[in-house]
Structure formats: structure tokens, C-alpha cells
Symmetry: C2
Subunit: 162 residues, 2 copies
């Protein structure tokens, strides 16, 4: 079956709000510290670790050049998951709204330098897809229970270059 | 009074262990996920939010070119604090061991691309000092109480280029 094509949109807080938080230092800081040399944009993620605890891990991911073809998305029903790239390189964020326990049509976003994301608990998303090999700090739930659900679309999707 | 000179050392997990965790994707991953395309280095920080909760903030900090002269260090008695640069650029990490409630001689470390740090609760440290303007994700405690102690050295220190 032919792939269905998505084009990535710029990653903006407004467009991404149903799926999670865009973590970026834009606009006016909430506090200015260090004798004026640092702006703090305070507590910008809707973190949720449920009955678990916060854990900070590192992910080292291979490059996924565009076009990127996928059929798999997943979600974590027990907690939020934040991805913070330790580099300036853009990465692709694939998410989908839920419809009665199944993911709907996926959406693709492309990050800009200085942006990370926090996925809300239970948000359908693609696996980590940097455009070049990249390391991310990942903040998610550590705890007991089954915190992974996967879904394969019957027809693959392809994310084209923007 | 003349400044006292420090030279930064490379940021390694072993040298930094008394002060906190070096967050980096080195060695063998704890898990390989995403059909072999991603290594997970799991739960690598000694996070501690005490009676508060985890909060994820962004810091936008001005460059501190070397030599960097300082007399101020601070610590957070109620929780850990992680700094995750959203870029490849190195940053300076200044820390000091505690001696009866006062910081001892400071030590300076210079990060490599792909490294972040997590400072243990109560670790004396300098303010955020990237070598170029930089954005960091910061994971620290959100909650009530006084979570800042400051100390000024009687004689300033200068961090020389490595």
C-alpha cells in the first residue's frame, strides 16, 4: 500500500499544546538571576510521574534522515516523558491524538535549536527521531507497572522534508 | 588582594562524583530500544527533591569567557539541581566541598559536548557559567522553604583557560 505523506510543521508551543510542552527560553524570563546574567523560565513542563518517581536518563539515537517512513507509535500510560537534546541539531517529533484508545492521524513537528519537548502522560508518539546522530537527556517515570503501549498503523506514514 | 588561579579539569564521572553526576551517553547502554537504533543509559542521576517536587525550567545564560573571576558560590540545601545544555558548547562547572558549613577551595571542570551535570543536594557551586551564550534545561526542586545559601570568598578566584 502506498505510504501516506506528512510534512513537518515548526515546533511551536501553541501547536504542540495538546501533546505536551515545548521547552524553550523565549519571551520574558520569570526571574533574572546571577546579577542579571541569567534568565530563569520557571517550571515550564507538565511533569507527571504518577505513583513512580522522576528519573533522568540519556538516549543515544541514530540519525533518521528525511523522508522518514514509520508505522509504529507508542505511548506511556503511567507518566510524562521529556526529551532534551544535548546539541543544537533539530529533531523530528511525531505525535498523534488519541481516539478511543487508538492513535489518529499523526502529526510531525521539527524542532529548532534550543528546543526540547515534554510529552504529556499517555500521548501517542513516534520513537526518537533526530535528523543526525544525537544524545538526549530524557526525564521520565521510574517505577513498577507496564508503561508502554504500542500501535502499528495498517498503512505506513512518510515524513517528507519540510 | 591578588586573585587565586584555578585551572579547569576535564569533566569526568570519577572526578565529579563527590559533587554529583556527569550525565553522558558513554560506554554500553543499559537497554537498546527502537529496533536497535537507540541506546538508553538508564536513571543516571541521584535526583533528590526532598519534600518538594521535580520542576523543569530553562535558563538562558550570558557567556563567561575565560579567565572568569568569581567570589560567589551557592548551594541548595533542599534538593538536587541538574544542568542540561541544549547545545554542543562547553560550560564551566565550579564546585567546592563543604567543610563545617563553609565551602573549601573551589574546583573547576570544563564539560565536553554531550555532557550535563546533576549537583547533589547541598553541593556548593558557582553560578551557571557557559563559555558562550547558552540555554540549559534545569531540573530542580519546586517547593516551599529557603533553598538557597550563598557564600562569598574573602579573596576572589580566577578560572584560567585550560
Amino acid at each position: 500500500m502506498a505510504e501516506r505523506v506528512l510534512r513537518p510543521a515548526p515546533l511551536t508551543a501553541a501547536a504542540f499544546a495538546p501533546f505536551g510542552d515545548v521547552l524553550e527560553a523565549t519571551g520574558a524570563p520569570d526571574m533574572v538571576i546571577n546579577a542579571g546574567r541569567c534568565g530563569r523560565f520557571h517550571d515550564r513542563a507538565r511533569l507527571d510521574f504518577g505513583d513512580g518517581r522522576a528519573g533522568l536518563s540519556l538516549f543515544r539515537a541514530d540519525a533518521c534522515p528525511l523522508p522518514h517512513v514509520f508505522d509504529l507509535v507508542e505511548r506511556h500510560p503511567l507518566g510524562s516523558q521529556a526529551f532534551l537534546p544535548l546539541s543544537d541539531d533539530p529533531f523530528l517529533v511525531i505525535v498523534a491524538e488519541d481516539a478511543d484508545g487508538q492513535p489518529g492521524r499523526p502529526r510531525a513537528f521539527l524542532s529548532a535549536p534550543g528546543q526540547g519537548v515534554n510529552l504529556l502522560r499517555g500521548t501517542w508518539h513516534g520513537v526518537l527521531t533526530p535528523l543526525v546522530d544525537a544524545t538526549f537527556a530524557v526525564l521520565d517515570r521510574v517505577g513498577d507497572g507496564v508503561n508502554l503501549q504500542e500501535h502499528r498503523y495498517g498503512t505506513p506514514w512518510s515524513v517528507a522534508p519540510p
